[in-house]
Symmetry: C2
Subunit: 365 residues, 2 copies
């Protein structure tokens, strides 16, 4: 099939089947309150876990069909395909959890290529001893995020590792999507004269996670920004089809992302510190913890580099979506040294913004 007809696509989805080696029919649940090694055996306990937990939350016909792989039609366009492992600790944090993160993050990786996300797959590595209630919450959250995003999970896998060989739950999410004709986005496409836009305040995710880890209560609301951004991106691309680069500043934060874009495009990028939105509680927490918000992870923000002629339209499109309400122009691309990122500080001086050396916030996503 090679049509972009939504009906054909819907048909394709109904033909999809799920990756699972473990069972073929529902089996009654046993009385276990924690994950046991037997849950990963591929036998009855696996079947119970799958039917009692995963199939109860992910109710797509694709998942219930239980084949070895999902078979999906594509509307004949370019396909985007991505994977990411999620190992965040703690697994629940203000504004989200590892399940929401795993779905949002992979949708966002597709969206950053300008793709319309179509299908997701997820593999869970569970540690013996994980409370099943925790797993249920996480799976429910992931399923709710899929529903919110309108992107179904069509394939999955579960493995169990012994106590001390994991940390509760790790999730690897993969996704495929279609890149519409005419969309040309790449990290190497920034040109001198372009402007750099961020879709909102930075550092929310990293600081929300750290606040739980460190047991710190900050004044004001701190919540992860984890969210699927593909609708925001679709609006942006409609208003500003000439967008050059898109990237979500996750691990390593805004500083790392802008460095990556400057390096790939062989351009210099000058940022204006005063223009970069940072929520007051995040700024306060960063001061307390000795962190630079420029390096703190985000999970619901994007950096866009656009031709200056489209900057106004891009900003307007972003701000019209609640997820981009605080979008701002934060810098510009120049002919300075290739790969260099400089920051004009609020005090008026200028400093180099480098890639993070070593770790700042481990296991933030």
């Amino acid at each position: 099939m090679s049509t972009a007809d939504p009906e054909a696509l819907s048909q394709a989805r109904s033909e999809a089947v799920v990756d699972s080696d473990s069972l073929s029919c529902p089996v009654p649940r046993s009385g276990h309150d924690t994950i046991q090694m037997g849950h990963g055996s591929g036998g009855r306990m696996s079947a119970e876990l799958l039917s009692g937990t995963f199939l109860a939350a992910f109710t797509s016909a694709e998942l219930a069909a239980l084949g070895d792989a999902a078979v999906v039609d594509t509307p004949g366009g370019r396909l985007a395909f991505t994977t990411d492992a999620y190992v965040v600790t703690p697994r629940f944090f203000p504004g989200g959890d590892i399940g929401r993160l795993a779905v949002s993050g992979t949708i966002n990786d597709l969206a950053m290529m300008g793709a319309k996300p179509l299908y997701l797959a997820a593999a869970f590595i569970l540690e013996e001893g994980l409370p099943i209630e925790d797993l249920r919450r996480i799976v429910a959250s992931a399923a709710a995020t899929c529903k919110e995003a309108g992107v179904p999970l069509v394939a999955g896998d579960t493995k169990v590792v012994d106590r001390g060989s994991g940390d509760g739950v790790y999730i690897t999410t993969s996704g495929v999507g279609i890149v519409p004709a005419g969309i040309e986005i790449g990290p190497d496409r920034a040109r001198p004269g372009d402007v750099v836009i961020v879709s909102g305040a930075i550092g929310d995710h990293g600081i929300a996670v750290m606040s739980v880890r460190e047991g710190i209560e900050f004044s004001g609301d701190l919540a992860s920004d984890a969210a699927p951004l593909h609708i925001l991106v679709a609006g942006l691309l409609e208003a500003a089809p000439g967008v050059r680069c898109l990237r979500d500043p996750t691990r390593g934060g805004l500083a790392s992302t802008v460095n990556e874009l400057a390096g790939a495009s062989k351009v210099c990028i000058e940022l204006d510190e005063a223009a970069i939105p940072v929520h007051a509680p995040v700024r306060g927490a960063c001061e307390l913890l000795g962190l630079d918000p420029m390096y703190v992870a985000n999970e619901g923000k994007l950096v866009a580099i656009v031709d200056s002629s489209e900057a106004g339209a891009a900003l307007e499109a972003l701000r019209s979506n609640p997820l981009g309400r605080e979008a701002a122009v934060i810098g510009r691309v120049t002919q300075g040294p290739a790969g260099m990122v400089s920051l004009r500080t609020a005090a008026g001086s200028s400093r180099i913004v480098d890639l993070l050396a070593g770790e700042q916030l481990p296991r933030i996503c």
Copy 2:
């Protein structure tokens, strides 16, 4: 694009870019001999690890392009999409390692849907303290298996967890493939009168892994059968296009797979113990370890259920490939109780073969 032209596909591949949040340009290697937390930071150490280890082994243009997601054209057919996490311990075993396993297993999941595998993606969860030399060997082995199979890895991700929160390395591999028109394979398609074929001797993988874990030397060669089976499947489908069911008997072994097929198809399957090939060292090891080879994992075997009229052609096709040299008819589908699997033993009696209850060999794949 919607053509199945190989040139178009090759073009699509050259447009693909890789999923990586971590860097944009090569960076010199640092002197670390073990994985550090900083290798997962998304900063310079991540860049070093990626360029020094992954990009050195996986040399596809797609991987080197380093975008957020792989963009690939499809030839407009049905798409197969799968994911599997690999947590086998130990990570090196006779006949393979976790890298070969992760590539073979995902290719096989695609092949079991009758799909031609096109692209793979892999996410690595690395434990702090993992020797980089081990990682290199694993990545090299995975890359070699990709090359052997002719299926490129086009997207990846790496995360690092702290010591004690993992076990060296876990790999989640995802794959997409195209299902040719006319192929209709599903676990629910077996019909009374069909025959059950296995492509070779069972239990090799599980026993090879156990031999290392238990520190046991057995007489005779013991080696995992981990191998990509898509070429074997392509030959099978060409000779016997009416194949009803295909599945690789991995976790849970042959017994679990046949149970899954019997359950999904609502048929009874009768197996003939004497017809099931088991290598002598595997049989001996099973006796020593108290294991039933029917439940021991395989990573280079398939179970096919075919119309009896095509059984001869199917067997001949399988045996013409070295990976199917020992293929055998091992049973038939009957109108007995739906979902039941019975085994006629060598002694002439008959017993029920059930799903595995609980675990037999944890972390076997």
